[in-house]
Symmetry: C2
Subunit: 433 residues, 2 copies
């Protein structure tokens, strides 16, 4: 699959925000670009929790990578998994599925394979408390969420029914806060569909290890989020580390054990294991400590961006692991590759903070733009606008807008689909535990 | 789960067209209705092939059963699988998942669990040539269809690439004709997304055992469908029985072997195995031979409808296994239950043929209304109208209309999503073969 042309071959691993932005930045360059991803689609991660709560369709927040890059003739898309990096010879080993593997030579490499959740050394918790990083995770969480309601309706045992009607969300960052905040709204919408239970009385507990929610936001915003969640009926446990997760129960450091059949994990990050294959220093979360120009120490032809990389930018600011930062890094890495090809000096990365946004349930949101902060419905409309604008593809934008309009006006959830393919996964999870 | 009230308990197994129509027919009756289905959703089967070809979203053609029946207070929905019928004691054994089972007593039973494809004694072909009966089948077919294109783009071997660029559809009934007819259109839409292959040159072969396509339609319509498929570039093999299916190849009775990685099955029907548990005579496809009032011989309290039943109606017409017939039977069965409760005489079923419709690619369709026949674009618009009208739920109608408009005007396919949960299934299929 290595192109036969004389032009430099730039290989990008991962078609998330960083990787896709980098690929597009080469659209007028005299290079061959190959972008490799395990999935055939780019995922708009900030809205994954809406798929997980049956508000949006998976296809609303995804776009086929091929389709996004269809007009960029110098870009080739490869559905494969990178399983080895030989930095000395500049080769990648890829698993193409069906037991086949291949080798791809690169002149320049941009690693943008992202991160998954970290279970802090308790990987055995993952099958019980799945995280939310990709569409498959979102579908699994949707399945569990909907099945818990079905089981509660079915159960004749009040204790068991209570367990099914309790959801624990672990991690008080944006994902945990948005997920916990949307659940009561979803439950309200489907109240009339059940005969024996009242879904709107479901108990939702949000557990955060630190002293406040949304630690990356200013204190004022955290306080607002906490108040908003309280008003929605969500129980919030701050300063609470999870000490034990087992089927049917989540225990906290305080000794409190919450009996529940549904635990979702939104805490901590572990960078893609590809970083380790470079043989350079990593931080505690497995991220590559990159140079100021985003290249890897000792390998000026390899760049690492997004959730896989850690650096303080040229002003000494720790770059956060958010979508806008990944986009900016993608552009910078692509430009630095072009500079290397021309034998120009590379340029250090500088992060431009566009602000932070999080939404909490219906019509509530919090926003922080450094110099000013917004909460309430103005922030919510702003959140809506920004998310619609950034969705890849016109079709997705229109579809998301209509699904939202439908959900918000009718309180109904249309995407409540428990699919059978998930049963396979359930079988696997059961075997795994 | 058996209601404690004094009212007669009517249990309906299956929430397809027949079962759902029967449940709704009881909305003003003084009975308790329990509807049991393995899925949480009703599926609009006639449009499954559009999900399989990445044109519609799964949620566009499904509706949560609970949601459909939310206002019908005498109806309870149960997500479970019926695994046993004790007709003597009027009890059902259900598998509720997670290793639990339960017993449900019925006063009246309506079986409407449908059918799956028949492999004519070659069940080992199923993993290689999946059928199209439910959403999970459609997602599996979508995955294989999209993956074949990815593998073709990836392959350096011209022979292998040719295999990936060949699709064989087995069965020339409405499902096979509609599926084979839509594929060229879909391929045209995504042509520009690939670099090394031209998807629009994919070979599509439709195999039919009988002498003509759409055997349930008049000859004239069959001829039209054949001509339409030819003009779309689909190769049609009539009078061709499949003699061998193996990974990589489909062989016909004529001795012709077609090398292909993608085989879809749309031939034959095998009724739900629940029919066999009644201990009454079945036809060759496993359907229950019901009395003229749709009840089971010797069991006036048990009714069988839809794809599980076979009968000649009161005028001696063999009732076909199509959605409108299932709906009509659902109404008749519900009314006959009500008559039994009141000790009235039951009424024989009489089929009202509303006509047959099938669509072939873009803007082409064939329709047969007995007294008159329509082909071409008028039939296509009629097809569109009928299908939109019958979709359950306003949201689905709007969403389907918009997705269609988008597909038809832009030639793009938005729902091209290869999901990971499918990988699990792939693993299973691989192990199975």
């Amino acid at each position: 699959m290595t192109p036969a042309s004389e032009r430099p071959h730039v290989v990008i691993v991962g078609a998330g925000f960083g990787g896709l932005t980098a690929a597009r930045a080469f659209r007028r360059s005299d290079v061959d670009v190959t972008i490799i991803d395990e999935n055939n689609h780019h995922t708009f991660q900030p809205l994954l929790y809406q798929v997980a709560t049956a508000t949006l369709n998976p296809s609303d927040i995804t776009a086929p990578i091929r389709h996004v890059l269809r007009s960029q003739k110098n870009a080739t898309v490869l559905l494969a998994e990178v399983v080895g990096i030989d930095v000395a010879n500049q080769n990648l080993t890829v698993d193409e599925g069906e037991g086949r593997s291949g080798v791809i030579h690169y002149d320049y490499l941009i690693l943008a394979a992202g991160a998954r959740h970290s279970y802090f050394g308790h990987d055995e918790w993952e099958p019980i408390a799945p995280g939310l990083k990709g569409i498959n995770d979102a579908l699994e969480i949707r399945r569990r969420f909907l099945l818990a309601l079905e089981r509660a309706e079915l159960s004749d045992d009040p204790e068991e029914r209570k367990e099914y009607l309790t959801i624990v969300v672990i991690g008080g960052g944006p994902t945990g806060v948005e997920l916990a905040g949307l659940i009561p709204d979803v439950l309200r919408g489907i109240r009339r569909d059940f005969r024996r239970i009242d879904p709107s009385r479901m108990r939702v507990v949000l557990v955060e290890g630190g002293p406040r929610l949304l630690a990356a936001f200013p204190q004022e915003i955290s306080d607002h989020a906490l108040a908003d969640l309280h008003s929605l009926g969500v129980e919030v446990r701050l300063n609470s580390v999870v000490s034990r997760v087992e089927p049917g129960v989540a225990c906290l450091g305080s000794g409190e054990c919450i009996e529940t059949r549904t635990i979702f994990w939104a805490a901590g990050n572990a960078a893609s294991p590809l970083g380790k294959m470079l043989g350079v220093p990593l931080d505690r979360a497995g991220r590559v400590i990159v140079e100021s120009d985003l290249s890897v120490p000792g390998h000026p032809e390899v760049f690492v961006i997004g959730d896989m990389a850690t650096l303080k930018d040229s002003r000494g600011v720790q770059v956060p692991w958010v979508a806008p930062a990944a986009n900016q890094e993608g552009k910078r890495a692509a430009d630095n590759v072009t500079r290397r090809i021309r034998d120009d000096k590379t340029v250090p990365f500088r992060y431009f903070n566009k602000g932070n946004l999080a939404t909490i349930g219906r019509y509530k949101a919090v926003a922080d733009f450094g110099s000013f902060r917004v909460t309430g419905w103005i922030a919510w409309w702003f959140w809506l606008f920004v998310h619609i604008m950034y969705l890849v593809g016109f079709r997705n934008r229109l579809s998301v807008l209509l699904q939202w309009a439908y959900s918000y006006f009718t309180y109904q959830r249309g995407v409540r689909l428990i699919t059978h393919a998930d049963t396979e996964r359930r079988a696997r999870v059961t075997r795994g535990t």
